[in-house]
Point group: C2
Chain length 339, copies 2
């Protein structure tokens, strides 16, 4: 192992707008040996998440910025290849914050052991059975406080989190309208995932379609995109609506800075609340939620789709951009082909 | 009475930006006689409220727009001068939605009987002991869920609602920072009302001052102004903060439309919520709140300041603009000098 090369992608500069190749540095180093009480994981799957864009920015946020020169932060899945800790054995499959690299030397904290099978491929532990599923679950049920019979709207509805949110809402007995880009995504969420309706924001007027599809207003809006779509939904809230702020992917690369929701005073008109959350705050309940999600998956009541791209860590910068262009359907994962 | 003239101010056109004289029509008609089960009130005090600007706009909101040609909607106080209902007797003093006019013929619904005394002047029932006080009370305690020892920021802090919010927060055992315009207002809220600190947004950088004055962040922000000040406070929230949306006076006359809070994604960073409310939703608890406010007033634990302008209904358009120019301290009231 000491002879192997560990290829890595590091953040070389803070991006303005869409992160181009100039913000990345591709480096190699020897595969590390595990320190005392630590282990080495060979990364097989890198999770691509909109939140990554935020981690690249300077300034205070819920997580510290990735330092210039540091390996890019990323969730991932891999196999333990060396271990100096009783917590993990060589051959274990784990998920955690592994970074955009082929090998990571790490302490055991924050790693989760998972067991992929013939039915449950490894990438699913980065999707429905991982942070993505948890985000949908706690955002919709806890922050959104969804009740049976309510009307839910979710944006980024064909994305990783959005596609789970809509399905969870159906399981809870709600009416679900998904907002997505393009006819394929819209068909997928309605025909395959069981959403009640879809709005194609690329060709349809969102506010007009919401008026038709949700004449009594929107009880829970789960927002992954921000921008004009957030404003359109704010104009169609039901009384005492809950607006769950999960992301704002339409705004992350805006060179003029984030646009705020012009219609926020509708929170007053509809006595509504807008609330942000982080899935990490629910860590004590991940077990409970994971078991419930796995049960629904096994029963065929919920589907998980992963958009797997085969490549190397060097492909990461390009694959990341697919998220911001809305090219993925379901969870975007880079599966590493190792040398 | 039938010989008297009832002067009225009607909405003649929907304003763009700041409402100039061209949006008003000054009319006169005979003082009405009360219909069956109804009464006539002679208006002595007209309440000036930022919300009036919203009522002048077209489009769906929490209250229907004032129709073009209709008497301008206004809260007020007056004396019953004729009654065909057992609910009110001639000579009673009442508050309610009386309109910008000298006399109103109305049903008894929505009117409150009040009893001004030597200690409690009539205008106070449009301020601390009226809707203004209720708005502060329910917004801070219910929507804001303020707890002892927390840090509160209130904007429009020398205004009608803001000045009460800060005092209520002190009674509840919080630390209070008020944001107001100009040294006189800032001195007043600290020296007379007992706020812990004031920020003069006209001469100080709000975000910098908040950093100094609230190093651990803001637990409750009671917003009356919107715009840049809202953004500045969103950047300084504490974890699990509550942002109470009461008004957005800085934006009501913006010809380019409302500006949305660019920093709203801090709701996620700080796991915070932003929530709107309307005092009318708490009508069943007004009695309870009114008694508590009156008690604190009698004990000298809270002060009510009314900014009383003497004039006629024809002065209403000019007096209204004082609100938007930030010229009032405390509750702005037009006291009618009747012919």
């Amino acid at each position: 192992m000491g002879n192997d090369i560990n290829r890595q992608v590091r953040l070389a500069a803070r991006p303005t707008g869409t992160p181009g190749p100039e913000v990345w540095e591709h480096t190699s180093e020897a595969v590390p040996e595990p320190g005392e009480g630590r282990l080495v994981v060979r990364v097989s799957h890198v999770s691509l998440d909109p939140a990554m864009r935020g981690w690249m920015n300077e300034g205070k946020s819920y997580a510290p910025p990735v330092e210039i020169g540091a390996v890019m932060r990323a969730l991932g899945l891999g196999e333990v290849v060396a271990s100096n800790t009783p917590d993990f054995a060589v051959g274990d499959t784990v998920t955690g914050v592994l970074g955009v690299q082929e090998y990571v030397e790490t302490g055991p904290q924050g790693l989760q052991k998972v067991q992929p099978t013939a039915e449950v491929p490894p990438e699913r532990y980065l999707a429905l059975l991982g942070m993505t599923g948890m985000t949908a679950y706690f955002g919709l049920f806890d922050v959104g406080a969804l009740a049976e019979g309510e009307t839910v709207v979710v944006s980024g509805a064909a994305g990783a989190v959005g596609s789970v949110v809509g399905q969870l809402a159906k399981i809870r007995g709600a009416r679900v309208i998904g907002i997505a880009g393009g006819p394929e995504k819209c068909s997928w969420i309605v025909d395959e995932l069981g959403f009640d309706a879809a709005i194609d924001y690329r060709t349809e007027k969102v506010s007009q379609r919401l008026k038709e599809l949700a004449p009594d207003g929107v009880d829970v809006y789960f927002d992954n995109v921000g921008g004009e779509i957030l404003d359109a939904v704010l104009a169609r809230l039901a009384m005492h609506a809950r607006v769950v702020i999960c992301g704002a992917i339409s705004q992350y690369n805006a060179e003029a800075g984030m646009a705020g929701p012009k219609n926020y005073m509708n929170l007053l008109v509809y006595r509504a609340r807008m609330e942000g959350f982080l899935v990490g705050d629910y860590v004590s309940r991940w077990g409970e939620a994971g078991a419930e999600l796995a049960g629904w998956l096994a029963e065929g009541r919920i589907h998980s789709r992963e958009d797997v791209v085969d490549g190397t860590v060097d492909d990461f910068p390009d694959v990341l951009l697919r998220l911001f262009r809305g090219e993925n359907t379901g969870k975007l994962v880079l599966r590493l082909q190792q040398a």
